[in-house]
């Protein structure tokens, strides 16, 4: 099968999209390299405080007209955007592969998931309806009107450059707000492409803005009095210690989604033929760089025969994973995003070994790359046995292609390990027993729960949940909760004497 054509020719000079115009930044410029071969594919500005202020001004100025645009008309703009995203589906997907390194299947999956959020937001005329009670007292009626608030900041991570800002932006603009998106400076191209389509769809200037950069832009958003709320997806330390408290201090609404260390609980009665591919996707999909990825397996029971069969099946399948350029359709795992992330993953593997884990499959060096690419950002999948719940490879987020294996005797022990972990983003069980599955679903304290599902990614019409150190806030991105987040409840009580 073919290596697909690269979607980017030359080096893209990324600009900010402010008030319906492409604007050059005064800030420092950084290179964006394709992790597969190190080739520079773009140059991105690290925008200044003045530039984020200008974007806020533009969004604030656009708000009154956009807010009073009928929801059906706002929905039509979103329908147009959806059509344009579909027309450009393949290019958008390939751009993700080039800037991030993920495989083309993964990129197309990300594109589909992003578009689904635009589709859901197209239902805004009904999604945004309020409710009313007639005659709350004699001749008095009461009703609730969801109203937009103004300007929102959306801060995206590097691992899903296309999809994650779309967990928020379509809902924010559908409800009549204006947005400023700050993509990760490591992967700015997808949001630039989306902004080009937003422009083509004819959204009024100032409704949808993109400001590239780093801390200065984030701080500018957090401190700005005219930004009503922030959605953030990134690491737990930033979510917990920066975004959440700073939004509290400045009176902003906040959705701050952090990291994870997810468990996949394996019961001896599971269907191994279906479970193993699900685990491959969970642990090694996106090179392990996602907050829904499995980080550790918990194998339940003292059946050594099952354990051996499970380990052999997992190791044999993992060994066959084809690693290489994500634009090669046969490749199952791409590189990690950059060398710093690779070093961090390697340090976690080393720490696991020091703490007593046994390397069953060593992805630090024992892997082949399909094609002629430097190994700078590549890693093979690593499997470690004899993992204990107190090890750093369990209590901290690795964000790489590693699988730790813990053995316990009972489901109670497995649930306790999940519960004792500081993160609670996504945990899953693999079993053919409905009662066991129900028990797990009922007791587990996790935001996203999987039953025979390795990546528990909620559809656009469900909230993307998360608990404890994986989430800071109340309402979540996506679906009805996003609509609630981006609107204030105005309650009217009315009497006409």
């Amino acid at each position: 099968m073919a290596v697909l054509e690269e979607p980017i020719k030359g080096i893209v000079e990324v600009k900010n999209y402010i008030d319906g115009e492409w604007v050059e930044s005064e800030g420092e410029i950084q290179d964006v390299a394709n992790p597969v071969n190190g080739k520079v594919v773009a140059r991105v500005p690290i925008s200044t405080k003045e530039e984020i202020d200008t974007a806020v001004e533009a969004a604030k100025a656009a708000f009154p007209d956009w807010r009073s645009t009928p929801p059906v008309a706002r929905a039509r703009s979103l329908f147009l955007l959806k059509e344009l995203l579909e027309e450009n589906f393949e290019e958008l997907s390939r751009v993700q592969t080039v800037e991030h390194g993920k495989t083309i299947d993964e990129s197309r999956g990300e594109t589909r998931r992003g578009i689904e959020n635009v589709e859901v937001a197209c239902g805004i005329p009904t999604l945004m309806q309020g409710y009313n009670s007639e005659d709350i007292a004699s001749g008095i009626d009461e009703y609730l009107i969801p109203t937009p608030l103004g300007v929102f900041g959306i801060i995206g991570p590097f691992n899903f450059p296309f999809m994650i800002p779309l967990w928020s932006a379509p809902y924010a603009v559908a409800t009549g707000n204006c947005v400023i998106i700050k993509p990760s400076s490591e992967v700015p191209l997808s949001q630039m492409k989306i902004a080009e389509l937003v422009d083509e769809a004819g959204f009024p200037p100032g409704v949808w803005n993109v400001v590239n950069g780093g801390r200065t832009v984030v701080n500018g958003m957090l401190d700005h009095p005219d930004i009503e709320g922030i959605t953030f997806v990134g690491s737990t330390p930033t979510a917990k210690d920066v975004i959440y408290p700073r939004c509290g201090a400045t009176g902003k609404r906040v959705i701050a989604q952090g990291g994870a260390s997810n468990f996949m609980v394996i019961m001896p009665d599971c269907n191994l033929r279906a479970t193993i591919p699900a685990l491959m996707t969970s642990f090694f999909g996106n090179a392990g760089q996602r907050c829904l990825a499995g980080q550790n397996v918990i194998v339940v029971g003292d059946d050594d025969h099952f354990y051996k069969e499970f380990i052999n099946g997992v190791v044999d399948t993992t060994k066959k994973i084809v690693i290489g350029n994500g634009l090669d359709e046969e490749v199952q795992m791409g590189p990690v995003r950059d060398i710093e992330k690779k070093k961090k993953i390697l340090s976690y593997i080393d720490s696991g070994i020091k703490e007593g884990a046994k390397i069953t499959l060593d992805g630090r060096s024992n892997f082949k790359i399909k094609g002629d690419y430097p190994d700078t950002c590549f890693l093979g999948p690593t499997i470690m046995e004899n993992v204990k719940p107190e090890m750093k490879i369990v209590t901290e987020e690795i964000f790489g292609p590693t699988m730790g294996i813990i053995r316990v005797k009972t489901l109670d022990e497995a649930i306790k390990i999940c519960d004792d972990n500081p993160f609670h983003n996504a945990d899953a069980i693999f079993t053919s027993n409905g009662k066991t599955a129900r028990e797990f679903k009922y007791r587990i304290r996790s935001g996203n729960v999987g039953i025979n599902i390795g990546i528990v990614a909620p559809m656009a019409f469900f909230p993307f949940s998360g608990m404890r150190d994986s989430f800071f806030g109340i309402l979540h991105t996506q679906g009805k909760e996003a609509i609630r987040f981006f609107t204030e409840s105005k309650v009217v009580i009315e009497r006409w004497p």
Partner: protein
């Protein structure tokens, strides 16, 4: 060659349908007595290709096993892109039937392998396999008449 990813299998189906189209176009050129049906088959192949692509692009998400859904050995399903030269009409029909059998086998195997992972894609594969079963019946009917 073994294919494991959805992207590679979908590209492979595209190639198979294009090769099968070429085969029937050549059949139509060489054997005018069946040309109408052969050209209809060639046209249908494009439709199959389209519905498979549509199913794939419609359901592919980051949450399903897109890169691990298949284990397709392509060598089992490869066929000639055109009928062997100077074959009799009946021999060429038999070659077409063999090609259809390979394609039915491919779609059935691929559907079975991916049914737990790829939502509507295996269902679409089975639809195409069923259509090709009907096609095999039509080719056999031509063979009887010949």
């Amino acid at each position: 060659m073994q294919l494991n990813t959805s992207a590679s299998v979908i590209s492979f189906t595209k190639q198979l349908e294009a090769d099968s189209s070429s085969f029937y176009e050549k059949m139509a050129e060489r054997y005018p007595q069946g040309a109408e049906l052969f050209l209809a088959f060639a046209k249908e192949n494009n439709k199959y290709s389209t519905i498979i692509q549509r199913a794939y692009y419609g359901v592919i998400t980051d949450a399903i096993e897109g890169c691990f859904a298949f284990s397709v050995e392509t060598d089992k399903y490869i066929f000639e892109k055109e009928p062997t030269r100077e074959l009799s009409y009946t021999a060429a029909l038999n070659q077409a039937i063999d090609m259809e059998k390979k394609l039915i086998s491919f779609y059935t195997d691929a559907a079975e392998q991916s049914k737990a992972f790829m939502a509507d894609v295996p269902r679409t594969f089975l639809i195409v396999a069923k259509k090709r079963n009907n096609r095999e019946d039509k080719l056999r009917a031509l063979l009887k008449e010949a």
